[in-house]
């Protein structure tokens, strides 16, 4: 009888211990073996990308890329139905040790790109690669660093090869070639 009582007590304690663990206030757990984000994520070398960022103020506070009347803004949810034409291809790639896919859109044969956060529908980057399109402020591939400064003012950070502007939860990065001309333009979501 005593054995039964003691056994019941010990087993109850075990279960209580596990229940206590289950009720702890730890942050969201690994959640299984699959809740993992991209190891190959581009950009920052200080951290992997989050699962997606949606900034409710992004439309009004971030840099906006306008394409044929369509506003594309980082840290907002992508809406393919608003794309002005179907001159784009999209494809998804996997990430290391992760079930999550990263979707990318290539518009007008590489004129510009849009990449979403891994496993999400929110826009992480927009990259302009040729002078067919320009920023809303009129800067396009081939502009000089001075023209960029004229349009946007002094950058938050800069090097000989990069001018970086910040606004809301977005960054605008102008990559410069050795002649000091813009050769690529990046809208990047901050998180």
């Amino acid at each position: 009888m005593r054995f039964t009582k003691a056994a019941a007590l010990i087993l109850s304690l075990s279960i209580a211990g596990m229940s206590l663990a289950a009720c702890s206030n730890e942050p969201e757990p690994v959640s299984s073996d699959i809740n993992i984000i991209s190891t190959q994520a581009q950009g920052k070398n200080t951290g992997a990308l989050p699962h997606g960022v949606v900034d409710p103020n992004a439309e009004s506070e971030n840099f906006v890329f306008k394409y044929k009347g369509c506003n594309l803004v980082v840290n907002t949810v992508v809406d393919e139905s608003k794309f002005p034409d179907d001159d784009y291809v999209d494809f998804e790639t996997t990430s290391c040790a992760s079930p999550e896919l990263t979707r990318r859109y290539e518009f007008k044969n590489g004129t510009f790109w849009m990449e979403l956060y891994p496993g999400s529908e929110s826009i992480y980057t927009i990259v302009i690669c040729n002078d067919i399109v320009s920023t809303a402020e009129g800067i396009y591939i081939g502009c000089t660093a001075d023209q960029v400064r004229e349009a946007y003012g002094e950058p938050a950070q800069s090097t000989d090869a990069l001018l970086l502007y910040e606004k809301g939860s977005s960054e605008l990065r102008f990559s410069l070639n050795t002649n000091g001309e813009v050769d690529q333009i990046f809208y990047v979501g901050k998180y």
Partner: protein, 366 residues
């Protein structure tokens, strides 16, 4: 006298009962913990790689460390078949360089390889920043001071050391996500890699990718560089040749980072091989040699690279041809059989379904 004896007998019974109950409680806790921990047997299998090393029965002349660039680029089985090289990849998903260091120390507890190959891809991350990846590398590590140090140097905000000691504290909420695999592999896990190599036989031709986002600074972080120093010094102390490599994957890497590694290698008299520079010599055709549009190599690319890399290793280091060592050769024969079986199985699935169903993302159980 009889009364005293009876009292002693009762005390003994109580002690035995208490001990039995204690053992029973620990057994239950241990079982629950085993049940709840991710098994990494299907789908995302990369969390199994760390512990698979401990099942090895042969010595290794070459051990490769790093993240996916390490475990998805080289085939130890191919290097054995071609050159008799005995090697192992101690890679894991987003293995941070501090973890590479402690895994190397862990290796040195049982063997001293002639060559340590470090895939420099993980230099891009300064500090560990993702618990899930930490878990995939560290949970499977055998307990030692090195594991303790690896955990302490890796924990992200919110992580606790005790949850590595008792993983049930971390995985307790998986009780309602348990799958058939969790039940099947409570007590034992299958080998999922081929001496650490993650095999993929599907083909997805290389795609265009947008340019990399330009950075204000391309310097590697101080923390990461400090651990590169530690790896170099540890190799020096143990008479091990350190070789730095980068897989022939253009995606996700800056030219400036190559320059950093080249300068480091030059400063310390190390060799750095950027296999991107030798893609033609290797014979890579990224229309057929990648399974995910150019982010990783598939088996065809891996075997080409392994033939090339194995030749380099045999020509530049004094490695043993283990094909002539019967005890090792017999183990590798088993490895080759397993390798061929998995390759054939994958090819059969691809022929049947047009894609892999039991491997990779499609195999994840919900």
């Amino acid at each position: 006298m009889a009364a005293k004896s009876g009292k002693e007998s009762k005390t003994a019974k109580r002690v035995i009962t208490a001990l039995v109950l204690l053992v029973l409680s620990f057994a239950i806790l241990w079982f629950v913990q085993r049940l709840l921990m991710p098994k990494y047997q299907k789908g995302v299998i990369e969390g199994s790689f760390t512990e698979e090393y401990y099942k090895e029965k042969v010595p290794h002349d070459v051990i490769i460390f790093g993240d996916c660039d390490a475990y998805e680029s080289y085939s130890p089985v191919t290097m054995y078949e071609e050159y008799g090289i005995s090697s192992f990849i101690r890679g894991s998903g987003e293995q941070y360089i501090n973890q590479s260091y402690y895994l190397l120390k862990d290796v040195l507890r049982t063997e001293t390889p002639k060559v340590v190959v470090l895939s420099v891809h993980n230099l891009q991350h300064d500090f560990p920043h993702n618990e899930a990846y930490n878990r995939m590398t560290l949970d499977g590590m055998r307990w030692s001071k090195d594991k303790v140090d690896a955990i302490n140097s890796s924990m992200t905000e919110g992580e606790t050391f005790v949850s590595y000691v008792f993983p049930v504290l971390r995985y307790h909420d998986r009780w309602n996500k348990l799958t058939k695999t969790d039940i099947e592999h409570v007590f034992s896990k299958d080998i999922t890699s081929h001496n650490g190599y993650y095999m993929r036989c599907d083909v997805k031709p290389i795609a265009n990718f947008p340019p990399m986002i330009p950075q204000i600074s391309y310097d590697f972080g101080d923390f990461a560089m400090a651990y590169l120093d530690k790896i170099r010094l540890l190799c020096d102390e143990n008479g091990i040749e350190l070789l730095l490599v980068r897989a022939p994957i253009e995606y996700g890497w800056y030219e400036q980072w190559d320059k950093n590694v080249e300068e480091y290698a030059e400063q310390y008299g190390l060799t750095y091989i950027n296999f991107c520079d030798y893609a033609d010599d290797i014979g890579l055709d990224m229309n057929v040699d990648t399974y995910d549009a150019g982010v990783h190599l598939n088996i065809y690319g891996v075997e080409k690279l392994s033939v090339y890399f194995g030749r380099y290793l045999t020509e530049n280091y004094d490695l043993t041809d283990y094909r002539t060592v019967p005890s090792v050769a017999s183990e590798y024969e088993k490895d080759i059989r397993f390798y061929n079986e998995m390759r054939d199985d994958q090819l059969r699935e691809i022929a049947t379904y047009g894609e892999l169903r039991s491997y990779g993302v499609n195999a994840i159980e919900n």
